[in-house]
């Protein structure tokens, strides 16, 4: 049964310390969305988020929760958004699917490849709507780049370069301390390995620890890999080979810099932490270069530059506009909640796009190249890599099969 287009959608926001405030703003501005609840394991964040929603939606009923499972128990909630740290993304989403909720979840999709696989299966089993929060996807620039690349004006694309400057800071040598009384540290850690509380391991800098995330690389991979996967409809790589270093001036352990070479069918994808020395890349802290037999194109979030036959161009007007434009990333999600159509950054797409990031992290940590077998979804002859790609959960949390 499909719900009518003018029906209202009731949303709850889970994880509202950082990016969750973006969710509150985005969804708060959609007139057919009601926000029924916000949830955070930190009371400080929770109270601020309650205030934030009330400012946008004065006088509307709103509840605060510290345990996301109580949010999922509510029958009136249609969809949740998730902006927890990475190590919670999967379990929140699968629990939501199983509770009959649709999910708009922050990137990166998952903390491990095994989580990605579990997500895909659980969504399929429950037939829920999922959108990965890659909001850059909605923009005119990415749509136009897809049209230009697919038009063939660049010839056959043989190399894709992706980059994002900056790596993990060291974060110094802080000692563990008691968690603040407002924070449920045990719940914050959830399925991740347990550790004494250190403020730097928690809010806003958790990303610089393998226990919870994979550093800047894992954070930004999907925003910029998105345009390459979309334009070229890339499948999965056949190999990944990473190099780099970790910080030496603090407790953080994710890459201070990381470069990864990937082989795809007939194509190389090269991730670097430094800006590559290619036309149009200079000055762009994040970017993607398509290098083809007839020309090249550099794209970042909002801008692009094309090099063909010695000319530098902003657009190629002859290339027709064929791809329907997005109504907005969150709007698109809400419409799909109603129509039950696939979102613009749906789970199968997001999983495929995220997979090389997991291989890159694993190759970095093992300090060796990996050969990826697409048929068995395993690294060839590398038990340790396959184990690392499936880090088990900490009890009592369990990853649904």
């Amino acid at each position: 049964m499909t719900r009518s287009a003018n029906e209202r959608v009731t949303v709850a926001h889970i994880g509202v310390g950082g990016m969750g405030n973006g969710h509150i703003d985005w969804f708060g501005n959609l007139p057919d969305v009601d926000v029924a609840a916000v949830c955070d394991v930190d009371e400080t964040h929770l109270n601020a988020a309650l205030e934030h929603v009330r400012t946008l939606r004065p006088g509307r009923p709103l509840d605060g929760y510290r345990d996301f499972r109580r949010v999922l128990d509510r029958d009136d909630i249609d969809a949740i958004t998730c902006a927890t740290p990475d190590h919670w993304h999967t379990l929140v989403a699968i629990s939501a699917f199983e509770a009959g909720k649709d999910v708009y979840s922050e990137k990166p999709l998952s903390r491990t490849l095994a989580e990605s696989h579990a997500l895909v299966k659980a969504r399929k089993r429950t037939n829920r709507v999922f959108q990965l929060g890659t909001q850059i996807h909605e923009g005119e620039n990415y749509h136009r780049v897809v049209e230009i690349v697919r038009s063939g004006v660049l010839g056959k694309i043989h190399t894709v370069r992706l980059w994002k400057t900056g790596g993990s800071p060291g974060l110094g040598w802080p000692e563990p301390e008691d968690p603040p009384p407002t924070l449920d540290w045990e719940m914050w850690q959830g399925p991740a390995p347990s550790h004494a509380y250190v403020p730097q391991r928690c809010h806003f800098t958790f990303r610089y620890f393998w226990d919870y995330s994979g550093g800047n690389y894992a954070d930004f991979w999907c925003h910029i890999a998105d345009i390459a996967f979309w334009a070229l409809e890339l499948g999965q790589p056949t190999s990944a080979s990473a190099r780099g270093e970790t910080p030496t001036d603090g407790i953080a352990d994710t890459p201070a810099w990381i470069d990864v070479d990937y082989e795809f069918d007939g194509l190389k994808v090269l991730w670097t932490t430094n800006i590559p020395d290619v036309p149009g890349a200079a000055g762009r802290g994040i970017g993607c270069q398509f290098e083809g037999t007839e020309g090249s194109l550099v794209v970042d979030y909002g801008d692009r530059v094309i090099f063909i036959g010695g000319e530098e161009l902003k657009d190629i007007p002859e290339v027709p506009r064929t791809i329907p434009r997005s109504p907005g990333h969150q709007r698109n999600f809400v419409e799909c909640v109603k129509s039950r159509e696939q979102t613009e950054s749906h789970l199968d797409y997001a999983h495929n796009m995220t997979l090389p990031m997991h291989l890159g992290c694993t190759s970095f940590r093992l300090k060796r190249p990996l050969t990826w077998d697409r048929a068995t979804q395993t690294c060839v002859g590398d038990d340790a890599a396959n184990r690392l790609l499936a880090r088990p959960y900490r009890a009592p949390w369990t990853l649904p099969a």
Binding site: A99, R125, N127, G250, P392, Y393, P396
Partner: protein
């Protein structure tokens, strides 16, 4: 500098070369030049009566080791002719970099000042105590390189000390390089002889590398981390000792280094086995619970059935349990599952809960009986966890236990049982049983989410009668269910 102290402790041995001493390797076997290569005329270097000889008649150029050395103690004996001139280059035999030479020179020229005499780092660092320069006699020399510190000893006495950070002309000195002997170059009739050349490569010494991991210099620390990873199993106890120092830097460095070590070993079967044994030995060894937990956790990379017994044996220890379970799940297989199932009888409730959850992740049908016991009688959260684990395994024998528990008065048990029934139904090859479980899961005590999941499952089965019945039930129990169902 603790690393220098260790290095210096070894200099007492300078000149007293004894074959077979631990940690020392001969660089010259007294027979031929294996392990060396020369850049000049090979005939310029000969071996006579166990002694390495080079004369000014044929220019043999620099004779350099095939291997590179960074931190080391070199012992060598030399004799020079009346106006002989030779030397030993260290850490650097590369044309494009700073290349300090420890001078060996007969006292024949007035320019032989302290910056250019025997024992000096020629032109870079002068001797602080002039050594015995008598030609035509054997002398022993020791060269100690430890991080930024270089010490030169002649005849057992320190003659030169250098801190490479404080010598401007040594800026850019590589951290490691070949060691090279200089041919005699002061005249056709002059010569130099070398014998008893041996080296202690400190970068392969677990004690030295263990100390270097504590360096305040980040580059030295990272270098030591890489050396430690190469050393492998012998570093495991030293890394746990470092971890037990319990400062933020010690735990960070120890943990990361152990991960590098284990990662490296995981690609090399012989090293993997040795590292697994070393970790296994420490799981119930002498270090703190936290360090033993670290060792247990690292078996996730390199553990096999050989580690299962040890890991299962520490499940009663709440400090180690989490990591032991993570490794047991990573190892997987029937032996790990059996050990986990057998451990249930001896564990307290938190231990049982964690093991039940692990069995749910491992999904071995042979553990259904053990889990069924906990799914019927488990205390507190153990029972719901066992019900969910049974569902995850997807074995038909668990159906009855799950259906029984779905009638429980306890809402946690009821909910877990229905979750288990749904998971079991979704994994069932037996369509009849799946249909039965989907029907049973759609009861008044179920949540809306559970009823929706049952309906989605029923649609997947393509059982129209079942779908119709479940939709009817949903309409009666909770009309909102149907509004929110996916197509």
């Amino acid at each position: 500098m603790a690393t220098l102290q260790i290095a210096l402790a070894l200099t007492g041995l300078v000149g007293a070369s004894q074959p077979g001493e631990t940690g020392w390797a001969p660089l010259f076997d007294g027979k031929d030049l294996s392990g060396w290569s020369c850049e000049g005329d090979p005939k310029g270097w000969t071996v006579e009566d166990g002694v390495l000889v080079t004369t000014g008649k044929i220019d043999g150029g620099w004779l350099k080791t095939d291997r590179e050395y960074g931190n080391f103690v070199l012992r060598i004996e030399y004799m020079i002719s009346g106006v002989g001139n030779s030397g030993i280059r260290i850490r650097s035999y590369r044309p494009d970099s700073v290349s300090p030479e420890v001078q060996i020179l007969a006292p024949w020229t007035p320019t032989r000042d302290e910056l250019h005499c025997t024992g000096s780092l020629y032109g870079h660092v002068a001797v602080s105590r002039r050594p015995d320069e008598t030609p035509l006699a054997w002398h022993s020399m020791g060269i100690v390189c430890s991080g930024k510190d270089i010490r030169i000893l002649v005849d057992g006495e320190v003659c030169t000390r250098a801190n490479t950070d404080q010598v401007l002309t040594l800026k850019g000195l590589p951290p490691a390089g070949a060691i090279a002997l200089q041919s005699s170059h002061s005249g056709p009739d002059e010569w130099v002889k070398f014998r008893r050349i041996s080296i202690r490569d400190l970068d392969q010494d677990p004690v030295y590398v263990g100390q270097a991991l504590r360096s305040s210099d980040a580059a030295a620390r990272v270098s030591a981390q890489n050396r430690a990873a190469e050393i492998g199993a012998a570093m495991v106890p030293r890394l746990l000792a470092l971890y037990d120092e319990a400062t933020p830097q010690a735990t960070r460095v120890a943990r990361e280094t152990l991960e590098w070590l284990v990662a490296r070993a995981s690609a090399r079967e012989a090293a993997r086995g040795a590292v697994e044994q070393a970790l296994d030995a420490e799981v119930d060894g002498a270090y703190s619970g936290e360090a033993r937990a670290l060792a247990a956790g690292m078996l996730a990379f390199v553990g096999t059935d050989l580690s299962v017994a040890k890991l299962a044996g520490v499940l009663g220890d709440p400090v180690i349990r989490e990591n032991a379970l993570r490794s047991l799940i990573s190892i997987g297989g029937p032996q790990a599952c059996r050990a986990l199932a057998e451990s249930l009888g001896s564990l307290d409730d938190p231990g049982k809960l964690a093991v039940v959850v692990a069995l749910g992740a491992l999904r071995d049908p042979d553990t259904v009986d053990a889990l069924t016991g906990e799914a019927r009688d488990g205390a507190g959260p153990v029972r719901p966890a066992a019900l969910r684990a049974l569902g995850a395994i997807g074995d038909a024998r668990a159906a009855e236990t799950l259906v029984d528990a779905s009638r429980s008065e306890d809402s946690d048990v009821r909910r877990a049982a229905i979750d288990g029934m749904l998971a079991l139904a979704e994994r069932q090859g037996d369509r009849g049983l799946s249909a039965l479980l989907f029907r049973r899961a759609s009861i008044p005590g179920a949540t809306r989410g559970q009823r929706m999941r049952a309906l989605a499952g029923a649609r997947d089965l393509g059982d129209e009668k079942l779908v119709e019945d479940l939709e009817q039930a949903a309409r009666t129990l909770d009309p909102g269910t149907l509004d929110r169902l996916p197509r």
